[in-house]
């Protein structure tokens, strides 16, 4: 085994171990940290595949943005259930579905080994030129998608002002017993 094979094996174990941690741990914060391990290891795989720019983007966006957003949202919700989440009763069906998918894919992959060229990557200059010439319309649409997602996220997550309190959970509306106590003495008399 040469050096790249050793590095690939190590990184593959990290990727799959982190992913299995994500889907098996009961604590959501632990799952976010496992996800970070898995995604950073994917950046290592990108480096082995001669995609240095994508490895950098992967660490920046997944490691630096997505995982932090997930952890921040967990902190903002303060949910006790997040430290001990339960799985579906259908987890056995899910395991069968995942394993059969893996079996089919492994069969297809191992029976169709494609003729490959020597491993190499594009220059960063070539990637930028391609992105801003042949792919410039999808690039602009992607920026529009990001803008709309940003605006939509702000509108959705904005703390409701006084008028919007009606859609939060009000315990009194569930019991319905102490509604009379809400009236002021003037109204009651």
């Amino acid at each position: 085994m040469d050096a790249s094979a050793v590095a690939f094996t190590f990184l593959a174990v990290m990727v799959l171990g982190g992913a299995i941690g994500v889907v098996t741990t009961r604590n959501v914060a632990h799952a976010a940290l496992f996800l970070l391990l898995s995604l950073v290891s994917v950046a290592g795989v990108f480096i082995l595949l001669m995609a240095e720019f994508l490895a950098l983007v992967q660490v920046l966006i997944y490691g630096g943005a997505i995982t932090i957003v997930l952890l921040f949202a967990l902190m903002l919700t303060r949910a006790e259930e997040f430290s001990n989440v339960r799985d579906n009763p259908q987890w056995a069906v899910a395991a069968v579905a995942a394993l059969s998918f893996l079996g089919v894919m492994a069969g297809v992959i191992l029976n169709n080994k494609l003729d490959t060229q020597e491993l190499a990557g594009p220059s960063l200059e070539g990637l930028g030129t391609e992105l801003f010439t042949n792919w410039v319309l999808p690039f602009e649409i992607a920026s529009l998608v990001l803008l709309m997602a940003l605006i939509g996220a702000i509108i959705l997550a904005r703390a409701s002002d006084g008028q919007g309190q009606g859609d939060t959970l009000d315990p009194r509306s569930l019991t319905g017993t102490d509604g009379a106590n809400d009236q002021t003495p003037e109204e009651r008399s």
């Binding site: 889907v23 996800l35 898995s38 989440v85 799985d87 579906n88 987890w91 894919m105 997602a149 939060t168």
Partner: protein, 101 residues
């Protein structure tokens, strides 16, 4: 390291993501599993760009777009989950069934 090694890694990662989406009940956990599946696709695209594409570019460009959409998706999904949590005091997708016919 051959192409099929990378393809097998990608398939295994995608299968783990499928299991997570189907077996988890917490919305944040489902979101993380979707991220795993998107990363499996990215690994595949980059591997094909490096091993098969003569220009070695298209797979990487597509991966950039996938990462962009994943970032937008996480921002929106976390906003929806925060909203759901405020309204229902739960992030369990089995209990958010008021739109189910």
């Amino acid at each position: 390291m051959e192409l099929y090694h990378v393809e097998l890694l990608s398939a295994a990662l995608f299968a783990i993501g499928v299991y997570g989406v189907l077996a988890r009940r917490n919305a944040v956990m489902i979101l993380m599993s979707i991220e795993l599946m998107l990363n499996a696709v990215n690994i595949n695209a980059v591997a094909y760009a490096a091993f098969l594409d003569p220009s070695r570019l298209v797979g990487q460009v597509i991966t950039i777009f996938v990462i962009t959409v994943a970032a937008a998706e996480v921002a929106l999904a976390m906003a929806i989950i925060l909203r759901l949590y405020r309204a229902r005091a739960t992030a369990n997708v089995d209990e958010a069934d008021s739109m189910k016919w």
